[in-house]
């Protein structure tokens, strides 16, 4: 095996701040390298340099021993490098075949040679066992998993030798993930080289042969996957042993109910779902993908309708949409931070002020009291230790995932709600920032609030929740107290297996 891609002292600094410093590594041909690191560790910058999106400020890259300095995405694709990003780069209004050929259609008399591209696309799809997808079908009609395979088909079509996966499994179901791993194995057999970037450490461990850990723009650890248990990955990523991944819960829940939802039903979504949250309680809501957790959360917050049942907050029945729920003291941190949780281009201060801005109106014209507002947002920044410079100028999108999530939580904290619904609060957040978010959750409960925490990571619920409610296909299967937490039992409930 020879070296496919080599980095020699590769560096990139943004306005003097290093994002990647002095990176030396040789990627062997036909290997599968897992790359891990916290958000902000330099993974994206490194990938963007490989992909020609940004140019290095120092050092160089070699492709099969020859200097490689891509100036654009097209240059990278020309040598044979393809990226499969978390957000796919497909054109949903075009067919599968058109997506493959969009940068160079074969033509007959200036007209696209449809027969040729459909036939060639079909043969590529067959290699990926996607026989059931017609080349002429519009990509918009495919499932997320199928779309990802189409993106891989595009890489194969471009004769990519190096395929870089960046968090490819976030929007995939369990089965689709399995299918992806099978496909990756096939790609290896064909002699291709893979770089696999993910926060899901177990996956990285099981599919890679080598693992590289980035921290603060440096390659801090690398080695064979066999010698790289998850504990070593975490230790290398954070640079110190966090001791526990979770802060200790600092209070016991009260017996008073904050939220009480009785027999919520909605055809096709929920069936007789009942759930209670007590004062000072962190209630975990667990279930497999499609169990109805987020659907229940949306009904509770008034975003979606429900046909039967009542929802009580502090004993008062809730009616109307989110406005009424917010006024009654509910807060909802959505699972879709970038699209629903934040105004990415607006400043951090504007994001923080979003929910509570009408409380800062000053008589007689209800003009916003900018001074009071900025004092409050500054206080919130300090309280949540949001790592940002000038929050009035810096856009929310410039923050790391963890700090973005703190801003989302902060915008609700601004008016001290009684009940927090957190839907996947640590998704796409690095290990260090996760800990800070857990600490925040604990503090909300300790201050007498209630937290309904939805998560797909069972460990996170085991670490943080006082009680876990399990759902399956829109029904509440049962509830388990902290004293009785048991991983196998909870999983069995989620799969709806009968347990003794």
């Amino acid at each position: 095996m020879s070296d496919l891609l080599t980095f020699e002292g590769l560096s990139k600094a943004w306005f003097g701040v290093p994002a990647v410093s002095d990176l030396d590594y040789a990627l062997r041909e036909n290997s599968l390298l897992g790359v891990i690191g916290q958000n902000g560790a330099g993974k994206s910058t490194l990938m963007n340099m490989i992909g020609g999106i940004v140019q290095p400020s120092g050092g160089r890259m070699l492709w099969r021993g020859a200097p490689y300095a891509p100036q654009s995405a097209a240059d990278a694709s020309k040598v044979g490098i393809a990226f499969i990003h978390q957000e796919l780069n497909l054109f949903t209004n075009l067919s599968v075949a058109e997506n493959l050929y969009v940068d160079g259609f074969p033509r007959k008399f200036g007209i696209i040679d449809w027969a040729a591209i459909n036939e060639r696309t079909r043969s590529i799809l067959q290699r990926l066992s996607l026989d059931d997808v017609e080349p002429s079908v519009k990509v918009g009609q495919l499932s997320p998993g199928e779309r990802q395979l189409v993106e891989i088909a595009r890489a194969l079509h471009n004769e990519a030798q190096l395929i870089i996966f960046d968090e490819p499994t976030t929007s995939l179901t369990h089965r689709e993930t399995e299918r992806l791993f099978e496909t990756i194995a096939t790609l290896r057999e064909e002699g291709r080289t893979i770089v696999y970037i993910s926060h899901i450490l177990g996956d990285v461990q099981s599919i890679s042969d080598g693992i590289a850990v980035l921290r603060d723009g440096r390659l801090v650890d690398h080695g064979a996957a066999a010698d790289f248990p998850v504990s070593r990955m975490i230790k290398s990523m954070i640079g110190r042993d966090l001791g526990g991944l979770f802060p200790p819960r600092s209070n016991q829940p009260d017996s008073d109910l904050i939220l009480s939802a009785r027999s919520i039903g909605q055809p096709g979504v929920l069936e007789k779902a009942s759930i209670d949250v007590r004062k000072g309680e962190v209630l975990g809501l667990f279930g497999l993908m499609g169990a109805g957790r987020s659907e229940l959360a949306r009904v509770l917050f008034g975003l979606d309708p429900h046909a039967t049942g009542d929802i009580l907050l502090n004993g008062q029945p809730l009616t109307g949409g989110p406005r009424n729920r917010i006024a009654a003291g509910m807060a909802f941190v959505t699972e879709n931070r970038r699209e629903e949780g934040l105004m990415l281009d607006a400043s951090i201060a504007d994001n923080l002020a979003l929910v509570s801005i009408d409380r800062f109106g000053r008589k007689p014209f209800a003009l916003v009291d900018m001074e009071a507002l900025s004092t409050r947002t500054e206080a919130m920044k300090a309280e949540l230790s949001i790592k940002a410079g000038n929050i009035a100028r810096q856009a929310a999108k410039t923050l790391s995932g963890g700090n973005q999530q703190k801003v989302v939580i902060g915008k609700w904290q601004m008016q001290s709600p009684k009940l927090f619904i957190l839907d996947e609060p640590t998704r796409g957040v690095d290990v260090g920032a996760k800990y800070e978010i857990y600490t925040l959750v604990d503090r909300i409960a300790a201050d007498g609030g209630g937290v309904l925490m939805i998560s797909s990571e069972l460990d996170e619920l085991l670490g943080m929740a006082d009680r876990i409610v399990v759902m399956n296909r829109g029904e509440v299967i049962g509830s388990v107290d902290r004293a009785d937490f048991d991983r196998e039992k909870l999983l069995a409930m989620a799969f709806r297996e009968v347990t003794a």
Partner: protein
């Protein structure tokens, strides 16, 4: 039973423009049966061809999520330049037509340079060039009516095998645009760019080149449309084409083009333009108060866009997963 009802309403939503079209024809037909005669219908399509040609060009721009507000001014200025060439240099009508289209290309290139090179958003760019182009033409004519040589009307009113020339030009433009959009690399890249400009850039497509070409095509079509219309009347007054940009955009949108890019077709623009013209002529035919006509048109466009919005919502609702049997 409910399922089949749903299917039926789904069909209605998917083909809203055609359904409205059928309703409009039926209504006018009942009011005045002669409205549905071959003569009257072919007159409608002929009248629709002028806005239609420009709407086909506009569809290219809308597909990239852009907009061109300068088409009305191009419809005025490009034929005017051709008029000078014909009157003062004595060039024949076909050369005049070529001059008009080339002027359109040039004006479109001005839009394109401002948008692609100077990165001014299309709305603002074309709002500025709307005044620039019209202002230039007004200055040239000193705000006087401009009379074209008599041959132009002979061309405009001519027929080929009994079919009016404007209709033939309309058909050629529509067919050519369809082939370009549906069957050439450039056309498919226009759709790709409209769907995801970022994705198009990452796929190595030249965003600048795609954008530049759609604005040039749009202006060229507008110029041709203006020339064909003037060939009917033989003269150009200062207000010619004023406000036409809205008819043109409305026709394209009625024909199914999305203002957000990526959706639309050449034939859609043909249908949209014909629908608008049907409503307009129908109102005249049925003797509706002249001043009520813009209101009726506005309502039709409103209904079409409303139906489009409702359809979009329903499609989204269909995509929403159910997690247990209903």
């Amino acid at each position: 039973m409910i399922k089949s009802l749903e299917k039926a309403s789904d069909f209605l939503f998917r083909n809203a423009t055609y359904v409205i079209f059928a309703c409009v024809l039926l209504y006018y037909g009942l009011q005045a049966p002669s409205f549905l005669s071959v003569e009257s219908l072919s007159n409608i399509v002929k009248q629709a061809s002028f806005i239609g040609i420009a709407a086909i060009g506009m569809t290219f721009v809308l597909l990239t999520a852009g907009i061109d507000l300068s088409v009305g001014a191009v419809m005025f200025l490009a034929p005017l330049i051709a008029g000078y060439a014909m009157r003062d240099l004595g060039v024949p009508v076909p050369v005049g037509l070529l001059v008009a289209v080339l002027t359109g290309v040039l004006l479109g290139a001005i839009n394109a340079i401002l948008i692609v090179r100077l990165k001014v958003v299309p709305f603002i760019t074309t709002l500025a060039t709307l005044f620039l182009f019209r202002g230039f033409g007004t200055w040239l004519t000193s705000s006087q009516q401009f009379d074209f040589p008599e041959e132009i009307r002979r061309f405009g009113l001519s027929t080929v095998l009994g079919v009016p020339t404007p209709l033939i030009v309309f058909a050629i433009v529509a067919l050519a645009a369809h082939v370009v959009l549906a069957h050439t690399a450039f056309g498919r890249q226009v759709y790709a760019f409209g769907n995801s400009p970022e994705g198009a850039r990452k796929a190595g497509l030249s965003a600048e080149w795609i954008q530049a070409r759609v604005f040039i095509i749009c202006s060229a079509c507008a110029a041709l449309s203006g020339f064909m219309l003037i060939a009917q009347i033989g003269r150009l007054d200062v207000a010619f084409g004023e406000g036409s940009e809205f008819d043109v955009i409305a026709a394209a949108v009625l024909g199914g083009a999305s203002l957000f890019g990526g959706i639309g077709s050449a034939f859609g623009a043909v249908v949209g333009a014909t629908l608008i013209q049907t409503v307009k002529l129908g109102l005249v035919f049925t003797g509706v108060n002249l001043y009520l006509q813009p209101i009726m048109l506005g309502l039709i466009i409103f209904v079409a866009v409303l139906v489009d919005g409702v359809r979009e919502k329903r499609l989204l609702a269909l995509l929403k997963r159910t997690i247990r049997p209903v």
